[in-house]
């Protein structure tokens, strides 16, 4: 008999669609509370986002010219953060009925003044670079990204 092994990330992603019997097994293994923690509470750092998504740590991007490496590192962080907050949901940008939410920043050069202005949404349009990788399921998640991960977004937008 082979023991079944499942890590936290897989357990969480499978839990939602699991049958009642499988849910019970997962709850016995990880605890019921484990599955009740909201994404808002469990994604507090880049490490949390990496763990949630199973993505490898930030590549060194030594393939690109040196002056662009900080930008690509921060862009990778923001992509992973968006994936984590969206709980694996990937957008179909061609679906007109699926609204995508974006954080919108005041980017006036000063590190202290940079910050979230508002969250916006679109159905069939998209600004340069915002695309499907940096969109959020709802305004709540876009706001969390813009506030909790302000530094990561500031780096991506400024570097």
């Amino acid at each position: 008999m082979k023991p079944l092994q499942i890590d936290e990330q897989k357990a969480r992603s499978r839990y939602k669609s699991a049958s009642p019997e499988i849910k019970e097994i997962l709850e016995d293994t990880f605890g019921k509370d484990f599955f009740n923690v909201s994404v808002e509470d469990r994604i507090n750092s880049l490490d949390d986002a990496l763990s949630e998504t199973g993505r490898p740590s930030v590549p060194d991007f030594d393939c690109v010219p040196e002056d662009l490496r900080p930008f690509f590192k921060s862009a990778y962080k923001c992509v992973v953060i968006a994936e984590a907050l969206n709980e694996g949901k990937r957008f179909d940008l061609y679906n007109e009925s699926e609204y995508r939410h974006y954080p919108y920043f005041r980017n006036n050069g000063s590190a202290s003044a940079f910050g979230l202005v508002v969250t916006c949404y679109g159905g069939t349009d998209s600004y340069a670079g915002s695309g499907s990788r940096l969109a959020f399921i709802d305004s709540k998640r876009a706001k969390i990204a813009g506030e909790k991960f302000k530094n990561e977004f500031r780096d991506m937008l400024s570097l």
Partner: protein
């Protein structure tokens, strides 16, 4: 006649690499499903640099318009929706590296190089 002479010079992505001296790169150290996104992002940066005549956005200057293309996301008709300008604001993803010096340049970039922009948005 285009006001920005670089719009006549930069007809292909190879022209953009040549004009900037940036190397073509291989993103094999990035997770496979993210490579298309980052490859196109890199091309978009090189393209934008090549078109901007050395201009870089000054985020402390509220009087300087910064132009970025805005796309209609349609499977059959992906393309430019318009060019929008801001002073010191920025959407997620539309940072320093993808801003254009003027409206004409933003529109040219989006229409002449729509495959790159599509790759960034969808990759």
């Amino acid at each position: 006649m285009k006001k920005n002479p670089n719009l006549e010079k930069i007809q292909t992505v190879e022209d953009a690499f040549q004009a900037t001296g940036r190397p073509q790169v291989d993103f094999s150290n990035v997770p496979e499903d993210l490579r298309e996104h980052f490859e196109n992002y890199y091309k978009g940066i090189v393209l934008t640099e090549s078109l901007n005549k050395g201009w870089k956005p000054d985020w402390e200057n509220w009087n300087e318009p910064k132009w970025r293309p805005w796309f209609r996301m349609s499977a059959s008709a992906f393309g430019l929706y318009g060019a929008d300008c801001g002073d010191t604001d920025s959407y997620a993803g539309s940072g320093s590296r993808l801003q254009n010096i003027d409206e004409e340049t933003a529109e040219y970039s989006a229409t002449q190089f729509s495959d790159i922009w599509k790759g960034i948005q969808l990759g």
